[in-house]
Structure formats: structure tokens, C-alpha cells
């Protein structure tokens, strides 16, 4: 019976309206909608969704509690495995994880696990006092580098165990990629991110912004002079890649990181703020991931005609399906199987267009995706005045350069065990700094594993 109910659709801002503002696209479920959607869950004996969740949240159990209307119990179940449900519910690629393996998805639509997780997370932010857990301080100090998903998750768990945790953040605002990268329309900063961080403050976690570990202080000093027993590195993958094609240093070519940082962190879209942003009339975003979608939708909201150029086909787009769908609804043009070969400039050195070549798909490459091959003689030009490169990012080499005994691999990622132990004693790492650019949920999971490992390490000392 339960599976006869169609998936409860979620209310969203009208595409034509939201393409002109930065308010959140999706409104989320209300209580009634959440309970109805929760009632669709079959409560499988062998829940495939749990296995498909990177942190193995007991999904049927929390959904069952939603159906009963016991949101506090649902929240407690999620909290066993995830510390940021209102964030992960919004940004996880559920179609490849929990929802992608939901049995209901075979014949109809999977349970909207992400939207239900978000519902519980938001309910908990509204109704629960996270800081009310009383913790006995154990007197040990741990430093966490970076206030993104892995750092916040690690700090949260350590604080609950009684550690004296200080989080060091290089930027002036806390949240890492949640703040500088993911736009407001996908993840509200004040309503969600700031409140998650406030919860950590209530747990006793200290935060120091404007500290670039590796420059302002070093890991060696934190451990030798400031008395930190262990350090967790959650510094993410912040270095943008460029293509290395002609014209990349023309005025009007920016990394997605720069474009999004100006818009999100520096709030360049708001006239009250001093930071400028340049969108021109027509923006081309190169890339097909979530960051590319965020950049192109931001450009659209700032008034530019905005298109995506991606070298493979739509099926290979690495972005979440929901983001692609939302982008299309908002009027973003997608040019698939197209690869830029040069950026063209005017006589003053500003972008005037993009030279591209058509691609076709060949044999699968090592990533399992069919590799794009240039079609000879298919060159063409796209007129534009801004080109945004969204080609991925890699970890910042600063910590490796300034920390004795901290090893990285060929791609610049910190070498760490599954539990997060690095090659330097007492130093742990997790998230994008270890894996290269990945997802919020994986980073959060890594932060929590490392918290456990740090606890064991300090207790064994």
C-alpha cells in the first residue's frame, strides 16, 4: 500500500523568479509532507540505502520516526552517523547514493531521503539545544585546521568527548566551502551554516578566523609551543585548475572559485558590500560539476546570459541531477560535447569569445566514463565576455611545505589512513585535503572517523 503513494513533490521558488534572486530554491517539506513522504518507505529488511550512504545513516529508522511524528527521535538516529543533516540533506548527491539504491526507484520514484533528512536537520536546528549536552572536560587540546565540513564534524565529535577544541580558519568567515563555494540559493548561510556553527560554540568549541596555518602559525608551533596534543587537517582542496589554453589570462577569465568567492563570501551581489564582481553580458562556464552549476546559476542571477560548455555528454555531467534540472529550468543553456581550445580577446585584452571544438565520445577511460575525442575541423566560436573555469581544484601545498614529516601524494593530497592518521605523529587529516575535491558527506564522515582516531591516539599516549 505504502508504495502506491507518489513521491511527495517539494515546493520550490518559481524558476523565472528565482533566476533573479539569491533566496533558496527549494522550500523543503513541511510536517505533513514529510510524514506522507516518510510513509512511502518500505522499511526493507536489507536496506540498500544504508549501504549506499557514505556514512551509513540508519535511513529506514529515522524515516520511520518521521512517519510517527517523533522528530526528536529521528534527529537522534541521524546524529549517530551525521553531524550536518540540514546541510547534507541539501547538497548530497542522493541520486547516486541512498536514493539511487532505493528499491522503490526501480518501478517508480525513490523515497525522497535527502528532503526528509533536510526536514529533520532543519527541525533540529529550530527545536533542539545541542549545547545542552553536558560534557566533562578532559583537559586535552586539539587543533582543527579549516572550518569546512570535515573540520566542523571532527570538532563537534571531539567536543562531545570532552576535548578542548580550537578551529583555525584562514578566511574571515567560518564554514569553508559551505560559505565561499556553495551559493546562498542552495545553502542559506545565516539560516543553516551559521546555526550549525553556533551549535558547536555552545558545545565549547573555540574558533579563530584569519589564521592561515602554515603562515600565521605552523603545525609544529601548535604542537610544540601551544600545547595541542593533536591536530586535524581539514583544509580542503582550494586551488583552482586552469586549462592551460591561449588567452587564459585575458581580463574576463576567472576561476569558479574566484567568481563564487566574490559572490558568496564577499557578497558582491549586494550593493551594501564593497567587493566588485564582473559578469558582462554573456558568461560561459567551462565544466560540468556542481561548482560549474553554482557558477553558471550565480552568473544568471547577476543578469548575464549564461551557458555551460562541457566536453562530454549530458549523461556524464558530474553535477547532481537536481542542480542540472534546476539550472535548465532557470534558462541556462547547455552545450555538451564542446571543448574550448582558446579564449579570444579584443585589442584591449578583454575576452570577446571562446574558440571551441566539437567532441565525440570514444572508449571508456580509467574513470569508467567514455572519453571525449576532438572532431577534426569542427572548430567554432562562441561570443562571450566572461569565461569561468570550473575544472576542479586541488589541495593547497602550504601545509605540506611548512610541516615536518607530512607527506602528500603526486596530486598534492595528504597521505592518510582510512582513520585519518597522516605520516606525522599526532597529525590527522580528512576530507578534500586527503581525497581531492569530493563531497560534503565524505568530508564530514572523514572528520568523524578522525575524531575517533584522535581520541584513541590521545588516550594511548
Amino acid at each position: 500500500m505504502a508504495n502506491k503513494i507518489p513521491r511527495v513533490s517539494v515546493r520550490e521558488q518559481e524558476p523565472a523568479i528565482r533566476a533573479t534572486n539569491f533566496e533558496e530554491v527549494c522550500y523543503g517539506y513541511n510536517s505533513e509532507e514529510a510524514q506522507l513522504e516518510a510513509s512511502r518507505c518500505l522499511n526493507c529488511k536489507n536496506p540498500r540505502c544504508v549501504a549506499a550512504c557514505p556514512v551509513n545513516i540508519n535511513i529506514p529508522a529515522f524515516i520511520n520516526k518521521i512517519a510517527e511524528g517523533d522528530y526528536a527521535a529521528a534527529s537522534a538516529i541521524i546524529a549517530e552517523d551525521s553531524s550536518l543533516p540540514s546541510i547534507c540533506g541539501r547538497v548530497c548527491p542522493q541520486e547516486n547514493q541512498c536514493e539511487g539504491s532505493c528499491i522503490l526507484g526501480i518501478k517508480s520514484e525513490p523515497v525522497a531521503i535527502g528532503k526528509l533528512e533536510r526536514f529533520v536537520g532543519d527541525w533540529s536546528l529550530e527545536n533542539e539545544c545541542k549545547g545542552c549536552v553536558s560534557v566533562t572536560a578532559n583537559g586535552h587540546k586539539v587543533a582543527v585546521i579549516g572550518s569546512g565540513p570535515s573540520g566542523l564534524a571532527c570538532a563537534s565529535d571531539l567536543a562531545k568527548m570532552g576535548y578542548d577544541v580550537t578551529v583555525f580558519e584562514a578566511l574571515h568567515k567560518l564554514g569553508g566551502v559551505l560559505v565561499y563555494g556553495i551559493p546562498e540559493f542552495r545553502l542559506p548561510k545565516e539560516k543553516i551554516v551559521a546555526r550549525e556553527i553556533d551549535n558547536l560554540r555552545k558545545l565549547g568549541v573555540k574558533f579563530e578566523t584569519d589564521v592561515v596555518v602554515g603562515r600565521t602559525i605552523t603545525i609544529d608551533n601548535l604542537m610544540d609551543k601551544e600545547g595541542f596534543d593533536a591536530v586535524f587537517i581539514g583544509s580542503g582542496a582550494g586551488l583552482p585548475r586552469f586549462m592551460g589554453i591561449d588567452g587564459e589570462n585575458l581580463n574576463g577569465v576567472v576561476s569558479a572559485n574566484e567568481f563564487l568567492t566574490r559572490a558568496n563570501l564577499m557578497r558582491a551581489f549586494d550593493n551594501e558590500y564593497d567587493t566588485p564582481i564582473y559578469v558582462g553580458k554573456k558568461v560561459v562556464v567551462v565544466g560540468g560539476g556542481n561548482v560549474a552549476m553554482d557558477a553558471v546559476r550565480t552568473a544568471k542571477r547577476l543578469g548575464a546570459e549564461s551557458i555551460i560548455v562541457y566536453r562530454r555528454s549530458e549523461a556524464e555531467l558530474p553535477a547532481r541531477r537536481e542542480e542540472v534540472h534546476h539550472a535548465k529550468e532557470e534558462g541556462i543553456e547547455f552545450r555538451m560535447l564542446t571543448n574550448p581550445t582558446a579564449i579570444l580577446g579584443d585589442e584591449k585584452g578583454w575576452v570577446k569569445g571562446l574558440r571551441c571544438v566539437e567532441m565525440e565520445l570514444g572508449e571508456p577511460d580509467e574513470s569508467g566514463r567514455r572519453s571525449p575525442i576532438e572532431k577534426q575541423g569542427s572548430d567554432f566560436e562562441v561570443e562571450c565576455d566572461v569565461v569561468i573555469m570550473a575544472l576542479g581544484t586541488s589541495p593547497n601545498p602550504l601545509l605540506k611545505r611548512t610541516t615536518k614529516g607530512l607527506e602528500t601524494n603526486r596530486r598534492g593530497c595528504i597521505i592518510a589512513t582510512e582513520e585519518g592518521a597522516t605520516t606525522r605523529k599526532g597529525v590527522f587529516a580528512g576530507g578534500d585535503a586527503v581525497t581531492g575535491a569530493a563531497t560534503v558527506i565524505l568530508a564530514m564522515g572523514a572528520g568523524r572517523k578522525a575524531a575517533k582516531a584522535i581520541d584513541e591516539y590521545i588516550k594511548s599516549k
Partner: protein, 290 residues
């Protein structure tokens, strides 16, 4: 929230102010050649500024600012005792000579060429070399005598100070480049390295001049930046045909390899936005030329 207190404010010249900021962590780690990023308040831009001095014992860092746009003006309306929202650093790599052994430094002859507010970041470099027993000549260029800054401080730490003003109101009348030529050709001075810090256009012409004498020349680039930690890439610069990020690979580069025309064009990226991020390095100074 952590805030950074202004412990001293002084007007150095028209529209040029010195601010000494309480920032113990930055002061403890700062070395010559590095910079900070300053954000005056919640709405402010992140403005990169080179460090003009630092005092580890006091826990203070000195910056020198020319008021050009919104952010620098806002910063200079603050007074002693006021706080600025953010002060992060030290960023970028220190000058190469701080990594040299006393053996390597011994007998090296440096010529520093400073233009406009670029004189301020020259000071800690010259001071450091002086403290390590290295002889340094310094040329300070400005449009006119009243625009000169840091002359007395510099005098105390360098071997020879030469002042060049466009109008001849003090010192040599003419561009810093003409002074370089005079020192080398007329006075027969010999240098192992030139370090030029000032407006891009001045640095460009200094490098063109020193190239004639095959004098290795280091420049400190004041590119546009947002985060200053390698994240945004706004500060991309072509050096020897390769792209570098000024914030993490610089700010000092081999001046003879820098594509200055591109660097100047890139500095103007946001000029039409009527924001100051673009204009902040657009010093009204004519201390360059051939």
C-alpha cells in the same frame, strides 16, 4: 569576535597614512617581503597590503596605505584605538635573501628602488639586510618632495639614500630610472641585485633599465586578490611565459621575466566597477620613465 586594534595612526604625506596594528600572531611570523590582507568591516573588501614593519616583542604590524578608493578611505578614517575587522597574514613568500646564509650574504651589494607607497615595504627589507651586515643603496622616487615617505627611517638603515623627485623639489630631478643609470654609469657603482617595489609601471621601467646592465632584478607585484591564499587565482601573472599566482608563488618575482603589460591590464579588471579594489594600486605617481 577577534578584532585588530589600531595602536598608532600617522599621516605620512598627502593621502598616505601609517597604521600600526595589534596582531601578535602575524607579528610573530612576519618576514620581509610578505603581505597581509585587511578587511576594514563587515562590508569591506579584502585588501592586500605589503607589510611596512613588524615588531614581535610588541606584537604589532605596520601597514602604509594610500587612500584611493572606498576600502582604503574607510580604513584611513579610523583612528587610534579603533578596531579593524580582519587582519590576516603574513601571506606570500618572504624575500629570497632571508633564506641566505651569512656566508652567501657577505659582500653582496643591493640596490633598492622604491616608488610612492612602495617605499614602505622596502623598509623592512633594507632594515633586515642592515641588521645582517649587508650594504644597501636605496633610491626613493616620488612626484614631489611632499609625497616622500620613510626617508628618515630609511636613512638610518641604508648605506646611501638617493632621492629622486619628478619636479626636483628634493634630491635628484628626474625618474628613478635616470638615477639608476647615473649611479651605475657615472658613479661606477656595482650591484649584485636590484629590488624594485612601487607602481607596476615604475617596476616595468626599472626592469627595462637594469636589463641593460644585466643586473638581476626582483620586483614585488601588487596584483588583485580576493583570498590571498591560493584559492581564487585573481592574482595570476605570467613570469617567463608560465602562469603563477602572486599570492602563493610570489609576491616577489624575477622582474626581467614578468609580463608587466599583462599584469597592468589585469590590475584594471574591475576599474569600471567604480570599486576601489582595482584602483588601490593605481598610485598617482610619475616616478617612472625612460
Amino acid at each position: 569576535m577577534l578584532m585588530f586594534k589600531i595602536v598608532e595612526k600617522r599621516a605620512l604625506a598627502d593621502n598616505i597614512y601609517l597604521l600600526r596594528i595589534e596582531a601578535p600572531r602575524v607579528a610573530a611570523s612576519a618576514l620581509p617581503g610578505q603581505f597581509v590582507i585587511v578587511r576594514v568591516d563587515e562590508q569591506g573588501e579584502r585588501v592586500p597590503l605589503t607589510i611596512a614593519d613588524f615588531d614581535q616583542a610588541e606584537g604589532t604590524v605596520t601597514i602604509v596605505i594610500q587612500t584611493i578608493g572606498v576600502s582604503t578611505r574607510k580604513l584611513c578614517t579610523l583612528n587610534e584605538g579603533d578596531y579593524i575587522a580582519d587582519f590576516v597574514g603574513p601571506l606570500g613568500n618572504p624575500s629570497e635573501f632571508v633564506h641566505m646564509s651569512s656566508e652567501e650574504l657577505k659582500g653582496r651589494r643591493y640596490l633598492f628602488v622604491a616608488g610612492g607607497v612602495g617605499t614602505a615595504p622596502v623598509y623592512p627589507q633594507v632594515k633586515w639586510l642592515h641588521e645582517h651586515g649587508v650594504e644597501v643603496d636605496v633610491i626613493i622616487g616620488a612626484k614631489t618632495a611632499s609625497m616622500l615617505i620613510y626617508t628618515e627611517e630609511m636613512e638610518r638603515v641604508c648605506s646611501n639614500l638617493y632621492i629622486a623627485t619628478d619636479d626636483g623639489s628634493r634630491g635628484f630631478k628626474g625618474m628613478v630610472t635616470a638615477k639608476i643609470k647615473e649611479l651605475i654609469e657615472v658613479e661606477g657603482k656595482q650591484y649584485d641585485e636590484c629590488v624594485a617595489i612601487g607602481p607596476m609601471i615604475m617596476m616595468k621601467f626599472v626592469t627595462l633599465t637594469t636589463r641593460e646592465y644585466s643586473l638581476p632584478t626582483t620586483v614585488s607585484l601588487n596584483a588583485l586578490m580576493v583570498d590571498g591564499t591560493g584559492m581564487c587565482g585573481a592574482c595570476r601573472v605570467s613570469v617567463g611565459g608560465k602562469t603563477y599566482f602572486t599570492c602563493v608563488d610570489g609576491p616577489e618575482f624575477d622582474g626581467h621575466q614578468v609580463d608587466f603589460d599583462e599584469a597592468m591590464r589585469r590590475q584594471a579588471m574591475y576599474r569600471s566597477q567604480e570599486s576601489e579594489s582595482n584602483e588601490r594600486h593605481n598610485h598617482k605617481c610619475n616616478c617612472y620613465g625612460k
